[in-house]
C-alpha cells in the first residue's frame, strides 16, 4: 500500500499558479491553515479559490494570490465580517463569483459525480443571476415543466482540507459535529491533500460514520498538529479567539511581517510569544 505522507512543502510543490484550488472547512472552522500558510510562503498566485470562506480567503486575498474567488460568503464566525476579504473586495483586488450556499453545495456534488451541472431551486429572482451572467437555467423535462438554475460543476485542480485524524493511506476522520463538505471537496478535485491533527495506524475502533474521506480521493497526507490554527478543530481545540481578534485588527503588513515571514515553526514561536505577552 502506498504511503502518502508528505510535508506541507511537498503539497505546495505540486501546486501551480493559475490553478483552481478548493479549500475545505467552513468560515473560521477546520480550515487547512498550515497548508494555506505553506502556500503563502511560495510564489504561487493567480489562483481561482473555491471556499466556504474564512481566514483562508482573507489571508490569500490580502497577499494578492487570488484572481477569482468562488464563494457564498467570507466570515470569521465570532467576528462576522472578514476584514481582509472586505478590504480586497473594496479595492477591486479580485473577481468574485458569488453564488449561494446551496448552489455551492450542488456545484461540489456535480463535480464529484462528473456531471456538468445540477439543477437547484435557488438563484432565481436574486441578483446572483445578475452578477453571474454566465449562469443558465434548465427546464424540467417532466410534466411540472419547472425552470431551475443549472449550477455548473465546481471542478478543481486541487483541494486542501484539514481533519482530526488520518492514516498514511489517505483515509481521514472527523471528530467534530459537522463534516462540512470536505469529502466532496476531495472528490471534486483532481488531486486532494489532507492535513490532520494526528496520523494514526488504523481506524479499528472508529465509529464508521466518522470516516469522512476515503483514500481513493486523496493524493497526499500531512501530519500538522494545530494545523487549523487559529480556526477551530473541535474536539481537539476551539478557535483561538484572542489571536483571531489580533488577525482581524492588525494592519496586514504588520501581521504578515510578525507571523508569516518565516516557516511554520517560526509562526508557532511568534504565536506563542504573542500569547505570553498577553498574560
Amino acid at each position: 500500500m502506498t504511503d502518502k505522507t508528505m510535508t506541507p512543502e511537498d503539497v505546495v510543490s505540486r501546486l501551480r499558479s493559475g490553478m483552481t484550488l478548493g479549500i475545505g472547512g467552513w468560515g473560521s472552522r477546520r480550515k487547512p491553515m498550515a497548508l494555506v500558510r505553506a502556500l503563502l510562503r511560495s510564489d504561487i498566485t493567480d489562483l481561482t479559490v473555491i471556499s466556504y470562506g474564512g481566514p483562508d480567503v482573507g489571508l490569500l486575498a490580502a497577499a494578492g494570490r487570488i484572481r477569482t474567488l468562488v464563494a457564498a460568503f467570507a466570515t470569521l464566525d465570532s467576528i462576522p465580517l472578514e476584514p481582509h476579504f472586505r478590504a480586497a473586495r473594496q479595492r477591486g483586488a479580485f473577481e468574485l463569483r458569488e453564488i449561494d450556499e446551496a448552489m455551492f453545495m450542488w456545484g461540489l456534488h456535480a463535480a464529484a459525480n462528473r456531471l456538468p451541472f445540477l439543477p437547484v431551486r435557488s438563484g432565481l429572482g436574486s441578483d446572483v443571476m445578475r452578477v453571474n451572467p454566465g449562469l443558465k437555467t434548465v427546464t424540467s423535462p417532466y410534466e411540472d415543466g419547472e425552470t431551475f438554475v443549472a449550477v455548473p460543476a465546481l471542478r478543481m485542480d486541487a483541494a486542501l482540507v484539514h481533519l482530526n485524524r488520518a492514516d498514511r493511506l489517505g483515509n481521514g476522520q472527523y471528530l467534530g459535529p459537522d463534516p462540512y463538505f470536505d469529502d466532496l471537496f476531495c472528490e471534486a478535485a483532481d488531486s486532494a491533500y489532507v492535513s490532520c491533527e494526528r496520523l494514526v495506524d488504523d481506524f479499528a475502533t472508529a465509529a464508521p460514520q466518522t470516516l469522512l474521506v476515503s483514500r481513493h480521493a486523496v493524493t497526499g497526507v500531512v501530519e500538522a498538529p494545530n494545523g487549523a490554527h487559529f480556526t477551530s478543530c473541535v474536539p481537539d481545540y476551539g478557535r483561538d479567539e484572542p489571536f483571531q481578534k489580533l488577525y482581524a485588527t492588525t494592519p496586514w503588513a504588520e501581521f504578515a511581517e510578525r507571523f508569516l515571514s518565516g516557516d511554520e515553526k517560526a509562526y508557532w514561536s511568534a504565536v506563542e510569544s504573542w500569547h505570553e505577552e498577553q498574560q
Binding site: A71, T75, R89, R91, G92, I99, S126, P179
Partner: protein, 249 residues
C-alpha cells in the same frame, strides 16, 4: 443590570413579536439569526408552538432545555431548507418595500463601498421555506426604496422570475424595534401590521425609506403573559442581553 423592570420593555415586545412569527408553524425548524429572534423562537417552543425544532447554532437539533435530539450539519440543514420544513428569521442590512433583502454589499457589487457577508443562504432560503426578517434598529438606511444587491428574494422579484420562484416563496413577517410588518396587500408591498407599545405610526413612517401601506387601524404588539415574561426574564435571558440589542426607548 439595573433592577428588573416592572413593565414590559421594548426588547420584550420584540421578543413577543418574533415568537409570534412561529405560531402555528407545526413541526418545522425555527431558524433564528440574532439574539432576540433566538429568545423568541425558544419562547414559542416553550409555550404555544411546542412542536418546533430548535438548533444549538451548530450541528445539533436541541430541545427547549438545550439537550440534543437530532443531528443537523450544514449539508442536512440545506436539505431542511429545500424540503421546506423550516422557517428562518434572517437579518437584513437593507430591505425594500417588496421584501427584497441585502446582506452582501453596499454600493456597486462590482467594487462595493462596503463589502458585507455575501449572499450566504438567502437566495435558496427565500425560494424554498418561509423567511421572516429581524431588524434591531429601524432606519432609512435599512428600509430602503431599492436594495443594492438582491440576496433574499422579495415578492416582486419572485413574481418576475416565474412559477419556480413563487411556488414556495413566502415572507410571513418583518419585525423591527419599532413594529411588525407584513405583505398582506394587493400588490404585495410592505404594510405596517402593528407597532410596539410606545411607538407611534408617524415615528415608523419617518424611519422608513419608502411609503408603507397602512391598515385602517394599527394594532399594538400584544402584551406578554405572566408566564412568558417569567420565561424571558428568568429562563431564556436572565442576563438581560435583550436590553442591549434593543435598548429602552
Amino acid at each position: 443590570m439595573s433592577a428588573t423592570p416592572t413593565t414590559t420593555t421594548r426588547a420584550e415586545y420584540c421578543v413577543i413579536a418574533c415568537a409570534e412569527a412561529w405560531r402555528d408553524d407545526g413541526e418545522v425548524l425555527a431558524g433564528p439569526m440574532g439574539l432576540i429572534p433566538s429568545i423568541g423562537a425558544r419562547l414559542a417552543r416553550c409555550t404555544f408552538s411546542p412542536d418546533l425544532l430548535l438548533t444549538d447554532g451548530e450541528a445539533m437539533i436541541v430541545g427547549a432545555d438545550g439537550s440534543a435530539e437530532g443531528w443537523l450539519p450544514y449539508r442536512r440543514h440545506l436539505t431542511m431548507v429545500t424540503g421546506g420544513r423550516r422557517h428562518v428569521m434572517m437579518g437584513a442590512s437593507q430591505l425594500d418595500r417588496f421584501g427584497n433583502q441585502n446582506i452582501s454589499c453596499i454600493g456597486a457589487w462590482e467594487q462595493p463601498d462596503r463589502q458585507l457577508l455575501g449572499v450566504r443562504g438567502a437566495p435558496v432560503n427565500t425560494l424554498n421555506n418561509p423567511v421572516s426578517y429581524w431588524v434591531p434598529k429601524h432606519s432609512k438606511r435599512v428600509f430602503v426604496e431599492k436594495v443594492d444587491m438582491i440576496c433574499g428574494v422579495g415578492y416582486d422579484s419572485a413574481a418576475a422570475a416565474g412559477p419556480s420562484a413563487t411556488r414556495y416563496h413566502r415572507i410571513p413577517r418583518v419585525v423591527s424595534d419599532l413594529g411588525v410588518f407584513d405583505f398582506e396587500t394587493a400588490d404585495r408591498a410592505m404594510r405596517l401590521a402593528g407597532v410596539h407599545p410606545g411607538v407611534t405610526v408617524e415615528e415608523v413612517l419617518e424611519a422608513t425609506g419608502f411609503p408603507l401601506a397602512l391598515p385602517d387601524k394599527v394594532p399594538f404588539t400584544r402584551e406578554p403573559t405572566d408566564t412568558e415574561l417569567r420565561l424571558i426574564r428568568t429562563v431564556l435571558d436572565p442576563e438581560g442581553r435583550r436590553e442591549r440589542e434593543v435598548p429602552a426607548a
